[in-house]
């Protein structure tokens, strides 16, 4: 950012105009996601909705939450919960839907 300046607390001063642009982008993406949901695309509806939501989330994290100006250690903290969420969903979905396909061993009395 052109207005970045160093302060005692080493934070970056983001100009209000940048936030305004991001807000407009976020509102446009909201309109887009509502419009996209009116079209029946089958299972692609949820994929599209999640992609748009992730774009919005990225904008919020990068600009509103100053993520763009943070160091690498802080980025580990930002990304870790998403990695853990992926592991959780990945683990559950490779387990639960296949439970009935398990071979059941009869235990002899």
């Amino acid at each position: 950012m052109e207005h970045s300046q160093s302060h005692d607390e080493e934070g970056h001063v983001v100009p209000v105009s940048t936030f305004t642009k991001i807000l407009i982008a976020l509102l446009c993406l909201t309109v887009l996601t509502v419009a996209a949901a009116q079209v029946d695309l089958g299972k692609w509806n949820i994929v599209g909705a999640l992609i748009i939501a992730s774009m919005k989330a990225s904008l919020v994290i990068l600009v509103f939450m100053h993520g763009k100006y943070e160091n690498k250690i802080l980025w580990i903290y930002i990304l870790l919960p998403f990695v853990l969420l992926a592991i959780l969903i990945g683990g559950v979905f490779t387990d639960d839907p296949f439970r009935d396909q398990l071979i059941h061993f009869e235990v002899e009395k």
Partner: protein, 219 residues
């Protein structure tokens, strides 16, 4: 002594960081921010469990989720999304204003965010009462509820927990943003509480960014 003393330390001149004897204010700022992000990570994980249950429930009850999501008020959800995005914007502006030492603007911008929080909760109450009217709300349930029990169960868990976070965020912004700013507490040298409470509010917004399309749009 009132609890005010804990937040507004009158021994520190306005705009100066509080006296922290074991570290300089730059280190204190970095440590506070890292701690806040770690806390936000645990908040994401709290919701992660619910998103995972949502995904699993949707996998097993796809038809029900499709039908049930059409019973939600789409425009109320879309309006609330816009309200939260705007409140997130004013919270972000408040941080910039605090960095520039404009305490009045911090009060104004956080005030707008808190007001947006009230609007969000009012719309949510309207939605819940509409559901209650049709017997699709806990304690007034009838056969309409049982038809969509899986969807409504996860819907009330997720939106209820989110609404709780909205209330907490409003209290945090008032206690650590608005009230100290009224005492001209912040400057380019010291604005940690404004930034951290704004981060919390952005998290509330982030969760809703995912909740809105999942619950209202694709079901």
């Amino acid at each position: 002594m009132s609890s005010n003393a804990a937040i507004v330390d009158h021994n520190v001149p306005p705009g100066e960081p509080p006296h922290i004897h074991h570290m300089d204010s730059k280190t204190a700022y970095g440590a506070a921010k890292l701690g806040m992000w770690l806390f936000l990570a645990t908040e994401v994980l709290l919701f992660a469990v619910m998103f995972c249950s949502f995904a699993l429930m949707r996998y097993y009850h796809l038809e029900e989720f499709h039908d049930a999501s059409h019973h939600l008020y789409l425009w109320a959800g879309a309006f609330n999304t816009a309200v939260l995005l705007f409140s997130s914007y004013t919270a972000a502006v408040a941080v910039t204003k605090a960095q520039l030492g404009d305490n009045k603007a911090v009060v104004k911008n956080f005030g707008i965010s808190i007001l947006c929080g009230f609007i969000f909760l009012a719309v949510k109450t309207f939605e819940y009462s509409g559901k209650a009217h049709h017997g699709m709300f806990p304690f007034v349930w009838n056969e309409n509820f049982y038809e969509y029990k899986n969807f409504l169960g996860i819907y009330y868990c997720m939106t209820g927990l989110h609404a709780l976070h909205v209330i907490i965020g409003m209290v945090v912004m008032y206690l650590y943003g608005v009230r100290p700013a009224m005492n001209n507490r912040f400057s380019g040298k010291y604005y940690t509480p404004v930034e951290l409470s704004a981060l919390y509010w952005h998290l509330v917004d982030l969760i809703w960014i995912y909740l809105f399309p999942l619950l209202y749009l694709v079901g």
